[in-house]
């Protein structure tokens, strides 16, 4: 039964009280994951904080403060700015199209002077927020109505289209699957997913013609890494050699020959998991997988304690994104999926990724801290 008095007490909690109410277990898991990242970055630099580990730690602390700020802000604030945030991110994504900085052959960044903003990262958060907001008041029956469902589908597809054009295949995939997954959790009928999957398979053929040369190359090389062992296949091959040679227990901290001798490409970013696999072996790799798995489990545990649909969808959506993130990366370095250039969450070197992840988890925590707040089915009535 609902105890309004209790809620009103909760609403006037102090910051410290709120912090006390948050899930320290989840935070601990995140910090543990980041620590693994610092250690690996220290190792790939040949046992030095320079040039990666030190900066990554600094970014972590900046990100952590953002995490706390986002976490203690009332979740209803986030609800209320969901759409504006989504629109803002979308405008940025389009802006990248107009005035992006060329980097790695693709336009993904806006140069803000102090740092480079990757709008696609904001878009992911914006998308989850907006979808959670949209589905907040809807029952599965409501959502399953075609005329209703078309709106979130457009919310997903339109920005995804722009991200594909950037082209950032990894993020686009993440957004699309993450968005669809959120709708799935929200209760959209199975029929849509089954028919959508079938359509998707058919769409592969025209999609192929839309891909850029290097993207096709990646796919072809993925299907047959021996196709070009010194060219496009080199990354996958060297990555597999690094991982495979790690064996059961690895070569030891800072003893990875593949990584220390520069045979691994992008070892501090996309391929950092292979460094872990090489130096710590199967045990290290499984350890990290466990850490990730526990993090996800924890998010499920938190989500199911939240009493408003917005919060639940937000947490589950972010959890799905998080999972896709790590799955694509790890599957990629092991040669299971094509190389799409997606970092390993909390571990790969990179500022934008660290920030957006910590902000996302801040949202998760905000939803959890404010789990007992009653949010009307029609959010319009709120505030």
């Amino acid at each position: 039964m609902i105890d309004f008095g209790f809620y009103s007490d909760r609403q006037s909690r102090s910051i410290l009280q709120k912090l006390g109410d948050m899930s320290w277990t989840l935070l601990f898991l995140i910090i543990a994951t980041c620590l693994v990242g610092f250690v690996m970055l220290y190792s790939v630099a040949g046992g030095s904080l320079e040039p990666w580990a030190g900066r990554q730690i600094a970014r972590f602390f900046i990100g952590l403060s953002l995490f706390f700020i986002v976490a203690i802000v009332d979740v209803r604030v986030w609800l209320s700015i969901s759409y504006p945030f989504y629109l803002f991110a979308f405008v940025l994504v389009v802006a990248v199209e107009m005035a992006g900085t060329i980097g790695m052959g693709a336009q993904r960044w806006i140069n803000l002077g102090l740092f480079q903003l990757q709008p696609a990262e904001l878009m992911k958060i914006g998308l989850v927020l907006a979808l959670a907001r949209f589905c907040h008041g809807l029952t599965p029956q409501d959502i399953s109505r075609p005329l209703v469902l078309i709106i979130p589908i457009l919310m997903i597809v339109v920005p995804t289209f722009f991200v594909v054009r950037q082209p950032d295949l990894g993020t686009a995939m993440l957004m699309f699957v993450g968005g669809a997954g959120t709708l799935f959790v929200a209760g959209a009928s199975w029929i849509y997913f089954l028919s959508g999957g079938a359509l998707g398979l058919l769409a592969l053929i025209p999609a192929w013609s839309l891909l850029r040369d290097y993207q096709r190359d990646r796919v072809l090389t993925f299907l047959d890494p021996g196709r070009d062992p010194l060219g496009a296949g080199y990354h996958i091959l060297q990555s597999k050699i690094a991982l495979g040679s790690g064996g059961m227990f690895g070569k030891g901290f800072m003893q990875g020959t593949q990584s220390q001798l520069d045979f691994l490409p992008e070892k501090q970013t996309d391929f950092i998991f292979t460094v872990l696999g090489e130096e710590w072996g199967l045990m290290g790799g499984l350890g990290l997988l466990c850490l990730y798995f526990l993090t996800l489990m924890m998010m499920y545990v938190l989500a199911l304690q939240i009493r408003h649909q917005f919060g639940r969808l937000l947490v589950l959506g972010i959890a799905l994104m998080y999972f896709l993130y790590l799955f694509i990366n790890i599957a990629m370095v092991m040669g299971l999926v094509p190389v799409v250039g997606e970092p390993l969450p909390f571990i790969s070197y990179g500022g934008t990724s660290m920030m957006s992840l910590l902000i996302s988890f801040g949202l998760v925590m905000s939803a959890y801290i404010h789990r007992d707040i009653e949010i009307p089915r029609r959010p319009g009535a709120f505030g």
Partner: protein
């Protein structure tokens, strides 16, 4: 919370669990893949990682030095700064060569040759691009390494012959391994590796080469060495010490001047070759670097044949020098004795052919001593008729003719010693009296190398042992033992008679080499001159030697030894188309022998007799 909310929560939980299940399944996929890569295929990837990381480099041991008997370096190794290209490690071979061409000399022809070579060989085999670079060039290549993929600067060694032409024929030279002969020794595959191609470099190639070591080097993805993991040193090339005395060799070379000639100094007691010179010569250092076609053709076209080692590969009719052998054959066979006398009128009629003596007016009545001294042809015509072909050949063989002396040089010729069997086999004809007369004065079919002449001189001078010439004193610090020379098997009296004749040649009135003097008090030389016809002139042809074209002039030969009473050194000199043995070859031989004597301080000071040598009284001195 109304019923719709509850229902909605239940639906969400169901869906969330479904999705969570999918995630868990995918986690299992990741873990399974990880297990597959790291445990099931782990060993294979470990091997690949090791292959990535470890580069086995062959360590070429420095080639063994070659020294003369006193330790003077005749063949050394010089630092060679070079650049090799590993085609496999290059992104774009053409671009790399373009880049290199800006830093090191790289001509169009070299470039074309390199590209051909790269196409032909397998990609991991390094190709030598430029050698003998200056420090400046070498360091600029090092600086530009990042832009020159596949390029590797190396500090190697190159063979150097400080005396160049003077030792060219004896020591030979080294050159790159020929295409398709790189099997066997892994060293042969090293870029820029050289093997001995002629002379002693070829004969003792395996000893000089040593055995390859190897070094396991950890390299990074760009091929840069990080550290050495293990090292196995090979065996150094063995040092080869020769019997040559470089000062004497140098003197002989200079003394021969630009003539097409050869000179040999041999130790009468043990066969050590103190000098072995063939002129003109070539510069072996240029062979090492790679001769241009033009250079090669110049050598080939030269009628003085600079590429031939005339000491061992030049075949000459021995002419009158051969009379020493004929005389011994006569004395030993009993066909002649010291009382045998011949009247020389200046010619001998044989059927309808006239055989001349070089002395047109004739020597008058001569015995063996006079015949040797004045080199009377008519005497030896008569002697040859009495001795016969096979007995002459048998003695010559004992003195060193007719077979290679195996001094360690691969192109040594055997020469020709005509016998009845030989004539039958080679010309399917019996030996004629004309053949006999010609053989008696070392003309006709008989052919010998200067080394064989020197050996004959040494054996006659020694008189007791059939010593064999040798060039190598020690290999890798191990002295090469003297072989036990077999007994010559010639009666003392016969030897003494012939030695006395040779003494007379240089010391008694009427001797053909009277003008040759050592100018060392107390030391006299024994000698025999020789002037061998290259082309028999038609009877009507009255041209003098000077009027003939160079190639048709007589060969001048000279053998000698000293001291007359305790022979120590023998010398043989052959000057091609030198016209007269006594006037041309004689003085050269005398000067070289004098130098050999002067180079022997022990001999000058104490005049002691080496162990085993026997002092003999000298005929009619």
């Amino acid at each position: 919370m109304d019923s719709r909310d509850i229902e909605r929560t239940k639906a969400l939980t169901r869906r969330a669990v479904t999705l969570g299940g999918m995630k868990a399944a995918l986690f299992v996929v990741l873990a399974g893949r990880m297990y597959y890569l790291q445990v099931i295929d782990g060993a294979q990837y470990q091997m690949l990682a090791e292959q990535n990381r470890i580069n086995i480099r062959l360590l070429a041991p420095p080639r063994g030095l070659i020294r003369d008997r006193f330790g003077v370096e005749l063949a050394t190794n010089k630092q060679n700064l070079r650049v090799v290209l590993i085609p496999e490690q290059s992104d774009d071979v053409t671009a790399t060569l373009d880049g290199l061409a800006k830093l090191v000399p790289l001509g169009e022809t070299t470039r074309a040759r390199l590209l051909r070579e790269i196409r032909r060989t397998r990609g991991y085999i390094p190709v030598s691009v430029a050698e003998n670079l200056s420090w400046g060039q070498f360091s600029s290549v090092n600086l530009n390494m990042p832009d020159l993929s596949g390029v590797q600067p190396e500090i190697g060694e190159t063979r150097h012959y400080p005396f160049s032409e003077i030792t060219a024929h004896t020591i030979g030279y080294v050159a790159p391994v020929p295409e398709g002969q790189t099997e066997g020794d892994p060293l042969l595959q090293l870029p820029g590796f050289r093997i001995g191609k002629s002379g002693l470099e070829k004969t003792y190639d395996l000893k000089l080469r040593g055995k390859a070591g190897n070094s396991r080097v950890e390299v990074d993805a760009f091929g840069r060495s990080i550290r050495e993991l293990a090292r196995q040193d090979g065996d150094l090339g063995a040092e080869v010490v020769l019997t040559l005395d470089m000062e004497l060799q140098k003197y002989a070379f200079e003394r021969l001047g630009g003539e097409s000639a050869s000179a040999i100094v041999i130790d009468v007691q043990n066969g050590d070759l103190l000098a072995m010179v063939s002129t003109p010569a070539f510069d072996p250092n240029t062979f090492n670097v790679g001769l241009t076609n033009a250079q090669w053709n110049t050598y080939l076209r030269n009628d003085h044949k600079p590429l031939t080692n005339k000491c061992i590969a030049g075949l000459y009719a021995p002419g009158s020098t051969y009379k020493l052998s004929v005389a011994l054959a006569g004395l030993e066979s009993g066909a002649i004795d010291t009382n045998f006398r011949v009247f020389c009128s200046g010619k001998k009629q044989m059927g309808n052919v006239t055989f001349h003596c070089w002395q047109k007016n004739g020597h008058g009545t001569v015995d063996l001593h006079d015949a040797l001294k004045g080199s009377c042809d008519v005497y030896f015509y008569e002697a040859a008729l009495r001795i016969g072909m096979d007995r002459m050949a048998e003695m010559s063989q004992r003195l060193g003719f007719g077979a290679p002396l195996n001094v360690g040089l691969s192109d040594e010729k055997a020469g020709i010693l005509p016998t009845r069997a030989w004539k039958k086999a080679a010309h399917n004809a019996p030996v004629t009296q004309g053949d006999l007369l010609n053989a008696g004065i070392g003309q006709g079919f008989v052919l010998a190398t200067p080394l064989q002449l020197a050996t004959m001189a040494a054996r006659v001078a020694n008189g007791v042992k059939a010593i064999s010439p040798r060039l190598v004193r020690s290999i890798g610090g191990q002295p090469v033992p003297y072989e036990d020379a077999p007994d010559l098997g010639i009666a003392r009296s016969s030897i003494a008679e012939v030695q006395a004749g040779a003494y007379a040649v240089a010391n008694e009135p009427g001797g053909t080499a009277l003008r040759v003097k050592l100018d060392i008090p107390g030391i006299k030389l024994c000698a025999k001159t020789g002037t061998a016809q290259v082309k028999r002139l038609k009877d009507g042809d009255k041209r003098t030697q000077e009027e003939l074209p160079w190639q048709l002039r007589n060969n001048a030969l000279f053998i000698c030894w000293a001291p007359h009473d305790a022979p120590r050194y023998a010398v043989a000199v052959v000057v091609e188309h030198g016209m007269k043995g006594s006037a041309v070859a004689g003085p050269i031989g005398g000067d070289i022998l004098r130098q050999a004597m002067l180079r022997d301080p022990a001999r000058l000071a104490a005049y002691e007799t080496p162990k085993g040598a026997k002092t003999r009284e000298t005929g009619r001195a």
